[in-house]
Each structure stands twice: as C-alpha cells, then as structure tokens.
Amino acid sequence: MAAPRAPLHLVTPVWNRGTRGTRGLSRAVAPEGSQKKGRSLLQFLADRFYDVQALREYLLRKQVLKVHQKNRPFTYIRERFGPHAAGAYFILKQGGAVKFQGKEWIRSDARGHFSLDFLKFQAVPVEAVDASGCAINYQGLDSVLALKELQSLWLQRCPHVDDWCLGRLHPLANSLQELSLAGCPRISERGLASLHHLQNLRRLDISDLPAVSNPGLTRILVEEMLPSCQVLGADWAQGLPSGPEEQSRDTASPLPA
C-alpha cells in the first residue's frame, strides 16, 4: 500500500531540526496523482479515528517485518555447508550476485530462482558480492561478514544500508579491496568515517550519496583518511561557489550556523 511507505521513503527528511512542516517534504518525494490523494485521505482519517491510526501502524509494522524477514540468517545452511555457502545463498535469495574464487558469477534470474550447485563447492571462498539494490540491512550483514576472504563488495543503491552498517565492516579489513556505496540513500559522512579500518581498500565508490551534506569536502577527507585508496566520488569543487580558479580549497570551513 502506498500510504505507509511514505515515511520510509528514500530521501529521509531530517526531523531533528524540530520542524513540523515536513509533510511538504514527503509530498515532494511521493509520486503525485491519485496516490497523493489517497494518502491524504487516510491521513485525514488517521488523525481522527483511533482504528484507522491503528491500521496504519499495523501496515507500517508489517513493512518493517518484511525487511526483517528478508534478512533472516540461514543457520541450517551455515552449519551444514559452511559460512561461504550460507553467505552466497543469502545474497542470491535477496536478488544479488556472487562470485566464488575461480568460478563465474552466479546470479538469480528475473523470477528469483538460482541454481544450488554452489552448495557442492567445498570451502571455496567467496571473492565478490554484488548486492546492488538488495534489501540488506544491519542484521543481514551477519552473513556477509562471515565471508572472511571477500575482496569486492558492491552495495549500490541499497535502501537499508546506513551508517551503522558501515561501522560493522571492520572484520573484512584484511581482505576487502573494493567497496562501492554509490546511491545508498541512508549513508552519510559519519558512516564513511568508520571506513578507515579497511586499510587494504584500493577502490571506494562514494558517488551520488544524497544524505552526505558536503560531497566534495567529504571526498577530500575520505581520500586523506585512506591514502592508498582510489576514491570515486563527487567533484572536489562541488558545492563551492563558482569563482576564480585561485580560490583556495581550504578544508577549514566555517562553523555551520
């Protein structure tokens, strides 16, 4: 149902300024037309009737539970076939792709089906994981963190990957060489600060992160933090007023008001 989805929509309106007029913000991101009308009718009713409010809360709760269900751990597969197979199964179930060492990419098809041949691999480590667009969240990262020899992790456009998840990536510090976070709506510069544990990282993609307040400055700071890593991100001059070229790129910006 479209109505309860709006509060959890991609672009998170910031609440902590204490603004109440944020309905306008969510309207900006919700699709227009009949959905908007239907949503405001339900809102109108929810403001006046406890039953409708309870119904909306229930629908919201169901959505959250759906994401939890998608991120459940597969303990049986882990015990029987090992952590690599369990991690691969988890990613494939979410709709991503996995590459074992020395093998080809395994992807699930459009209907979500995939072959279970990889369960026969004995202790072949997973080398690369492509979880782009998957509904992986903090709990689901358990399965990924068990892949001790992971070299490449792509988390592009994952709607539930946030700063807390980035703080969890440090066990992969020994092996991880490539990380892509492009387009994740919940990642901000605060989560990027916890990437400095990943000392073996060689390629990092932090382009197109809508929640980062100052993309150009953030890219500079991340490059300073990870000196041997190539960082793909916003242009350094982004956000600076267009002026003469001699404008110094001083990292000391004035205090936010």
Partner: protein, 527 residues
C-alpha cells in the same frame, strides 16, 4: 456542573487531610496565600481571575472564608454570588484549565529529560493492557535550557568497568540503531539521530594499564567489541597522536560513538505524546504523604511514608494543582536531591536509613568548541586521555569539542551556567596539546556549561524504589553517562514498576539501599 457550582460546600469525600482516601476533593487551581484569602465566590473588585475552590473545611452554608457566620453577612454573600452567576458577572464556568495537570494520575514523573521520557515510553509500552496507566510528566522548563540532556556532548560507549553499565549501554545502542522502529509515529518523518560510529579511544598510562586490561576483559565478556592497542599500533593507526606516556589504549570498534541528544529527546517526546502521556509545564513544590509505623523483624520501629499527592506549581504563577498519584518517579536529573528532600528522604538522624539522603548534587562541567586547521581527520574517535581530558571531532570543518572534569578541589560553583575560559587555558589545553601536537595551534570558537547529576557516593546511577518512601522510584544520579543509558534505564524502571523486579538487566547493585549499607559500585571509567 452548574448545580455543583452553586453548592460550594458539597464535598464528596472525607473531610480533612491525612485520613484515608482523598477522593472527591476536586479543586480547580489553588492559590497559596498567607491565610485568609482562599478564593471565593465573590466577584473580586480587581482584575484577578476568579478561583473556584472547594475548601473541605467548609460546611454547606458559608461561602468562602469571608463570611463571619452571622445572618446578614451570609445573605450579602449569597447575593454577591448570585450576581456573579448572572450575565456580566465575573464567574466563568468554562474557564480554560488545559494548562493545569490532571487531578489524578497513576504515575507522576518529575523531570522531562531523556530519562523521564524514557521511563514514560517504556511504561506505556510494557503496560498490560494497553492504555491502563495514566502517566504525567512534569517538566518545569520546556525549553530545556538547563537540562543535562540538551547540553550533553552526546557520546555513547561500552567501555565501563561495571558490567551493568556495559549492559545498559549495549541495549541503548540497540535502541538507537532501531530508533525508527521503537519511536515510529505514523505520518511523521523518521528520526535521524546523526550517529557517528567512530568509537572511543581510552588512553592509559603505566599506572592504569593493568586496570584497563581487566576492564577490557569484563567488557568483552559482556559483548562489547573493544580492542587493546600498544603505543606502536596506536601510532600506526592514528599518526597524529603523541604516544609519550601512553602504555596501553583501548579502542571500541563498534557500537560506540556520538549522536544528537536533542533529536532523541524530541523523538521520545513525540512518541510518548502519541502514546497518551500527559505533559505539564510546572514545578513540583510539595509532596503530601502519609506515614505509618511498622516493626522490622528485628523489632525496630520504622516509619513508612506513602506519597498521596504531588503539588505542581504552574510556571510564573502562584497557582498550583494537587495531583493525586499512586507513584512518583524522580527523574529530575541534577535537581533530584531537592525533589528527594521534599519527599522526606533523608529526614532523620544521620547514620540511619531514615537519615540517608540521596547523594545527587549539581556539578557544573564545561564543554569547549575549537577550530584547529591541521587537526586530526575524519577518523578521529572520541579520545579520552589518561589525564581525564577528552575531545571529539564535530562536523567536517576541523572543529572539535572537548573538555575535562575538574578535580574535587576545583569544582566550580554550580549556581549558574557561566563558562570559565581560564579553565580551558589551564586545565584542558595543556594535556590535549601534549597528546595531539596539532592542537598547539587552535582557536576556541565557543563554549557552554551544563550540569552533571553527580552521585557523590560512587558516580553511578540510582535506580529503583526507596525502602521507606514506598512509592517513590529513582532514576537519576548518572554522573555524566545518563544519556547513553537512558533507554535501558527507562526499561528497567518500567519493569520495576510493573513487575516489581528487574527482568532484563539486573540493576540491583544500583538500588538506594547501597547508600545506607555503604556498598559502593565504583565506576573507574568516568570522564
């Protein structure tokens, strides 16, 4: 309502105070005066608002205290009263009293900061059946201008020495991580508490290295992700640190960092309001309680007190409302000691349980914000030096927040929140500049001061009921780490209230009894 208004002396309950039930004394705002004027039915000649009261010491005939009891006086009183009822009189039965708290409430929480709101949230969440308990939160300053929550630096860590503190902090981190599931309100945007998962770095000198190792062992047992680093590893990881004098460092890898406490406060407020908790903008000035004497098993006489009413005085007014309540939760933060005194905690000969006061007092702490252009970068954790000075990164522009706790002798006067800038020059800057050489050149941008609800006994929180004032519960005294334990403490107090014992985290070492028994739960890692 009209009938009731015309029979002022009709009181439904038992007359007088201190006897049995106090039901039926419906009062609608009382004015404390120096005897005499208690408010009456007579239309006042001045422009004051008429107060309707029902003084239970009346009998049915007299109206207010002005009547002398003789026939003529009474007739003129009744005449004046009728005049006020007729149109153009000063009597207004539909006076708006929405600013007053309700006359009855099951639980009254004194203090609307993060601890008080957390207790209110968990009470409403854990109550069975839903909607059974009426909760009132009394907060005297709605701008939170002096509240410790709003002025806090906002850090959260698991690096404590007491296992209960570690458990409280772990649950609170889990709460913050899933804050949009716990505090979701339909149609309101999700909360962004701006958590920085950068971790805490505690540095220890030679003297403290052994204690730090044993602390880390306890922390790891409880489930915190902490790693120990030698000075060599520290230099590799953070090249801007000067490791001279550092023997060992403990670094929290996960679940540690800092966040925006104001956002948590507003999120709790909004959720708690949607759950039906009432808020009152007022100050608690009095507790009306009754005592009963019992004998302990050893034959000693003890006096048990039970609070029946809380008098809530309105802001900038003499008007107060007595709120009849079953429980009072003292979450008043730095002012909890005063609230406990009002309730009669500590009124007795020193050395006895009656005479044990709540050892929570105000302590002023300074926080300074400075700018250092060559300072540490994005990876800077919350660094706590062995000397007690601390700092953390603030934002992306090379700004840092930091401070230091003064020693007992240098405690500043907590009468106001003025900042002492010399304290930074003398006590904060030298150790930080020695630890981080880049801080030799810095410029202080601003500073503020806030209060710690400092527990002078052992710097840990007080949670749970008082043994003698049987319906007062404490949730205070956290001495600087209250914000990071607030969600878990709220749940513990709610469990204590609803079930009578702690269910998830056992906080029995934090009960009030320890002040009398002398059992200190000393926390070593206090900043």
């Amino acid at each position: 309502m009209l009938r009731r208004a015309l029979q002022p002396g009709l009181s439904r309950g038992v007359l007088g105070r201190g006897l049995g039930t106090h039901r039926g004394r419906s009062t609608l705002g009382k004015v404390e005066g120096s005897g005499g004027y208690r408010g009456s039915w007579v239309a006042p000649v001045s422009s004051y608002v008429t107060f309707r009261t029902r003084d239970p010491t009346h009998d049915g005939k007299t109206v207010g205290r002005l009547g002398e009891g003789d026939q003529n006086g009474k007739v003129s009183e009744i005449k004046k009263k009728i005049q006020s009822v007729l149109p153009r009189g000063a009597w207004n039965p539909l006076r708006d009293t929405s600013y007053l708290p309700p006359e009855h409430s099951d639980v009254v929480i004194v203090g609307g900061g993060v601890i008080g709101l957390s207790v209110a949230y968990w009470l409403k969440r854990l109550e069975k059946p839903q909607g059974a308990i009426r909760v009132l939160v009394v907060e005297r300053d709605h701008t939170y201008s002096q509240a410790s929550t709003a002025l806090s630096v906002g850090g959260i860590r698991q690096q404590f020495s007491v296992p209960e503190n570690i458990q409280l902090s772990l649950f609170s981190v889990e709460f913050l991580r899933n804050i949009n599931e716990y505090l979701a309100v339909v149609d309101d945007p999700p909360l962004d508490i701006q958590f920085n998962p950068s971790g805490y770095l505690l540095l220890a000198s030679e003297k403290g290295a052994a204690v730090m190792e044993s602390n880390v062992k306890v922390q790891r047992q409880e489930g915190a992700k902490v790693c120990l680093m030698s000075p060599e590893q520290l230099r590799n990881k953070f090249p801007w640190i000067n490791t001279e004098g550092v023997a060992l460092a403990s670094y929290g890898m996960e679940h540690e960092g800092w966040f925006d406490p104001w956002c948590l406060l507003q999120g709790l407020r909004r959720k708690v309001q949607s759950m039906g908790v009432l808020f009152c903008h007022g100050e608690v000035t009095r507790f009306v309680s009754s005592s009963s004497h019992t004998e302990t098993t050893s034959g000693e006489e003890v006096t048990l007190r039970r609070i029946h009413e809380v008098h809530v005085k309105m802001d900038r007014s003499l008007e107060y409302q007595p709120v009849e309540c079953a429980l009072v939760i003292n979450a008043a933060g730095a002012w909890s000691g005063q609230i406990a005194e009002l309730a009669g905690v500590g009124k007795g000969p020193p050395g006895t349980l009656q005479g044990t006061q709540l050892p929570v007092e105000l302590r002023k702490r300074y926080v300074y914000l400075w700018h250092c252009p060559q300072g540490p970068g994005l990876e800077t954790p919350f660094v706590i030096d062995a000397s007690g000075a601390y700092f953390r990164r603030e934002g992306l522009g090379n700004n840092y927040l930091g401070g230091c706790s003064p020693t007992e002798e240098e405690e500043p006067d907590p009468g106001n929140l003025e900042v002492d800038h010399d304290f930074f020059q003398d006590k904060v800057w030298p150790p930080l500049a020695q630890r981080v050489p880049a801080f030799e050149t810095l410029k202080v941008r601003s500073a503020w001061a806030g209060y710690y609800d400092y527990n002078t006994f052992d710097q840990n929180g007080v949670v749970g009921p008082h043994p003698l004032v049987v319906n007062m519960y404490f949730a205070t005294g956290f001495s600087g780490h209250g914000l990071q334990q607030a969600p878990a403490v709220g749940r513990a107090v709610a469990e204590m209230v609803l079930d009578g014992h702690f269910r998830t985290i056992n906080l029995s070492p934090f009960l009030f009894n320890r002040f009398y028994l002398g059992e200190k739960v000393q926390e070593h890692n206090i900043i």
